[in-house]
Structure formats: C-alpha cells, structure tokens
C-alpha cells in the first residue's frame, strides 16, 4: 500500500520540549508543522525519562514536572494545529530538485517540506540491549526487544529478562500462548504494578511458569537460534536455563540512529550549528535543543527555546526568500494575537 505524501512547510523531527516550542515560534510566522516522534506521545525525555521529576530552571515556572511542562507546551502550540505522527522513526531524508526535502519514516509515511528541524534530543529512543557477548547474532531470530504480534511467540519456550512493567506484562500475557515461560530478574523486587507482580507469583505457585534470580551472562545456540542461556545466580554460582526465545526488557536508551546517514556534519554524535540561524552544514536543515552543538552550548531546555525562536526566523527566510519578515511581539501585535486565537 502506498501512502499519500504529506506536503507541509516544516517537518520537525522530535516532539520534545524544543520541537513543541518550535511549533509556536514557526506558527507565529505562519509556518505549518508536522512532528514525527519515535515515542507514542509528545514530551521526549521529559515524558519518557522524568515525567514526575521536578524541573527548576524554566523561566517563570519555579517548579514544574516534565509531564506538566509537556502539557503546557502542547497547549501553547495548539492554536497552530501541529500534526503529530507518533511511533515513527525518520529513516530517510533526501533533497528534491525544487529544493524541498522528502522525509520517509520506518512506518512508510512520506512528507515533503521546505524546512527540516531536527529536535531529536539524544537521538531515537531504542530498546536497551543487555551486555551479553554475541547477542547480536540472535537478534530478530530468537532474541526480541519488543512484542509486535503475540502469535509470533505461540508454542515457544520463552525466557523474559527484566523487572519492570514491560517484563511483567509480557510474562503474564504471553504465558498462555507459550509452550513454557520463565522470568529472570536480578532481585526479588520489581518496579512494576503490584497487581502484575502478584499475578506472576500466582502463575509460579500454579507451576505455570518459573521465576529465577540472577543475570544472563552467555547465550547458547546455533545460527541465531537460541537453545539456552547461562545465568550467574545471586549466590555467585552459574546455572543453565533452556529456552528458544529470549525477550530482554531493560527500558529505553537514546541512540543517534539514522540521523548519522543524512550527510550532516557530526561532532561526537551532535550536530554542529551556527548560533545565528541554528542551521546545520546543509541549508534548510536546522537543529535545535540537546542534539546540536556550538561554542558555549548548554544542554538546557531554556537554551532550546531560544534556539527555536532564532531558528524560526531563519527557517522563514529560507522557505520564503522573497517575503518581507517583520518582527512582531505577541503582546502588541493584533495579527499575532489573531493567530493565537486571543484577539
């Protein structure tokens, strides 16, 4: 099935705080934005890493949680009707003959935009891989970091590793379809819904699954097909477990990902920009927030906001080289206030 191409002024890669504020600043200049994020919601690190932790250095907000800041930014961006595409990772970025950009995601979405804004923070959130030697050879064949279809695991002898909600939920959900189910965790305590922990223990009591304490140190198998693992038990002694499928659930980490393939200059996994336009070495591609670097860069949300404002002016000029741009204040400009829906 071919997707219809979405044509827009700006594609923002990353719906974290800087991407969201860029919607506001670009919106004041009548530039329409589509945002693409690998997570299932906006907020980036604020939503994924520390939704409940207080942030103390947002000007005017003496204390705000990551989630609350995200909610307020969403509210601030709303008048400009940004469109969000979640659970999508941008894979390809190519220049079109007319100077615009074509963006393709791993989910098959295609965009054409005058301007690209990379606001991807630390990069893409990707599953954290356990440091077990040679695990790569099994990935996608018998080691999986996510469950897309439960049917894939019917009749398998599954070992799940981890102690959070994902590990517990999939243990409980896959147990009925699996030939056998085992869970391994480094301690007898879980960071998961108490109800899930109770259900898991009940399944152990009913002898429908096994729970082990320890850490996997080695995988055994052939041609990517897992046959068993070695575990270092909490008493220091090794033991073996048989399984044909391993599902490690250790949360998410950030990796630069496909951004590295777009022909941009990189410095230690960051994108160098100038401090007038926050433009990369490729005209029309801008980078703001934690992902960029320049002399004196501070990885602060407030720096990203400043970068978004200056970038927007430059992005407007890039997209509309012949248009006159008059700088206006939201406090005094009725035309800006109309855009915000307050005049």
């Amino acid at each position: 099935m071919t997707q219809e191409t979405i044509s827009t002024d700006v594609v923002i890669i990353g719906a974290g705080p800087c991407g969201l504020f860029a919607v506001f600043e670009l919106g004041l200049l009548d530039m329409k934005c589509h945002l693409i994020d690998i997570l299932d919601r906006s907020g980036g690190q604020c939503a994924e890493l520390y939704p409940e932790k207080p942030i103390y250095d947002i000007p005017g907000l003496p204390v705000v949680s990551g989630q609350e800041l995200t909610d307020r930014l969403m509210e601030q961006a709303a008048p400009f009707k940004p469109e969000f595409h979640y659970n999508e990772m941008v894979e390809e970025l190519e220049k079109l003959p007319d100077g615009r950009w074509r963006v393709k995601t791993d989910g098959g979405l295609v965009f054409e935009a005058k301007v690209i804004v990379i606001a991807a923070g630390g990069g893409s959130f990707q599953p954290k891989k356990p440091p077990i030697p040679g695990i790569e050879a099994y990935e996608g064949k018998s080691v999986f970091y996510a469950v897309k279809r439960m049917e894939t695991f019917r009749g398998k002898n599954i070992l799940i590793s981890g102690g959070g909600d994902s590990a517990l939920d999939w243990t409980i959900n896959l147990q009925p379809v699996a030939a056998s189910m085992q869970l391994i965790h480094r301690r007898d305590g879980f960071r998961a819904a108490p109800d899930s922990v109770k259900k898991m223990h009940a399944l152990v009591d009913e002898k429908k699954m096994q729970f082990h304490l320890g850490q996997i140190t080695a995988l055994h198998g052939d041609n990517g097909q897992l046959e068993g693992v070695t575990v270092k038990g909490n008493d220091g002694n090794d033991f073996q477990l048989e399984c044909d499928t391993l599902l490690p659930f250790f949360g998410l980490t950030m990796k630069l990902g496909p951004i590295a393939n777009w022909g941009l200059n990189l410095h230690e996994n960051l994108i160098p920009v100038d401090t007038e336009k926050f433009q990369t070495n490729v005209p029309g591609i801008f980078a703001i927030g934690d992902i960029n670097t320049y002399p004196g860069k501070l990885k602060l949300i407030l720096s990203g906001f400043h970068e978004a404002a200056l970038m927007s002016q430059a992005a407007f000029r890039h997209a509309n080289p012949d248009a006159k741009l008059t700088f206006q204040y939201t406090t005094s400009s009725t035309s800006l206030q109309k855009k915000l829906g307050v005049a």
Binding site: L49, P131, G189, F250, G251
Partner: protein
C-alpha cells in the same frame, strides 16, 4: 577532597573532587567517557560505576529508583549510579571504576 578512578586495566587516576558535587559530574568534568543523558536525574542509568568493596559500606544505600535503574542497566554487586553519589568529606579517597556497561553505552 579526591576520588580515585581506576581504569579497566587497573591504572589509577586521582580526581580532585568538591563537596556537594555528584561523582558523575566530577568524572565527566575530567573528560572521561561517561554519558549522563538525563543530566543526573537518576533516569537514564548510563553513569554506572563499580565502587571498591571497601567503600560501599560508607555510601548511603541506593534509593528505590536507583535500584530500579541498576536493574535496567545490568548492575553488579558493587554497582551504583555515580549521579546519586554526592561528595562529602567522609568520601574523600573514594575508589571506583566506570562500569563496563557504562563505557559500552558511551562508545
């Protein structure tokens, strides 16, 4: 006040530390490869260190959120998150090494 950072080959390096600084910040300040994506909020788990067993008793026990992060980052018996260790005079001379898993994350 100092911390002693031992590398993977056993070579020691003495780092000047200041009271109230997070050990993660001191290590990072010296330019050692330690990523702290979350900036010290005990939220990414990428700043894992292994503390010399002789020093572990002098540290405050890890909070639940630190234990959780160590779960997700393959923490070992002596593992702590360096962003959760705050320098005090009692920790002068603290010996530790950057955990393999943290170096792998930074690579």
């Amino acid at each position: 006040m100092r911390i002693v950072l031992v590398d993977q080959k056993g070579v020691e390096q003495v780092l000047e530390a200041a009271e109230g600084w997070r050990v993660m910040e001191i290590i990072r300040d010296y330019g050692f490869p330690i990523v702290a994506e979350c900036g010290g909020a005990c939220a990414c788990g990428a700043c894992q260190v292994e503390v010399d067993p002789e020093w572990t008793a002098k540290l405050h026990p890890p909070r639940e959120d630190e234990v959780d992060m160590l779960d997700r980052n393959y923490g070992g018996d002596w593992s702590r998150l360096s962003c959760q260790l705050i320098m005090t005079p009692a920790l002068d001379g603290l010996r530790l090494r950057i955990a393999d898993v943290a170096l792998r994350e930074a690579a």
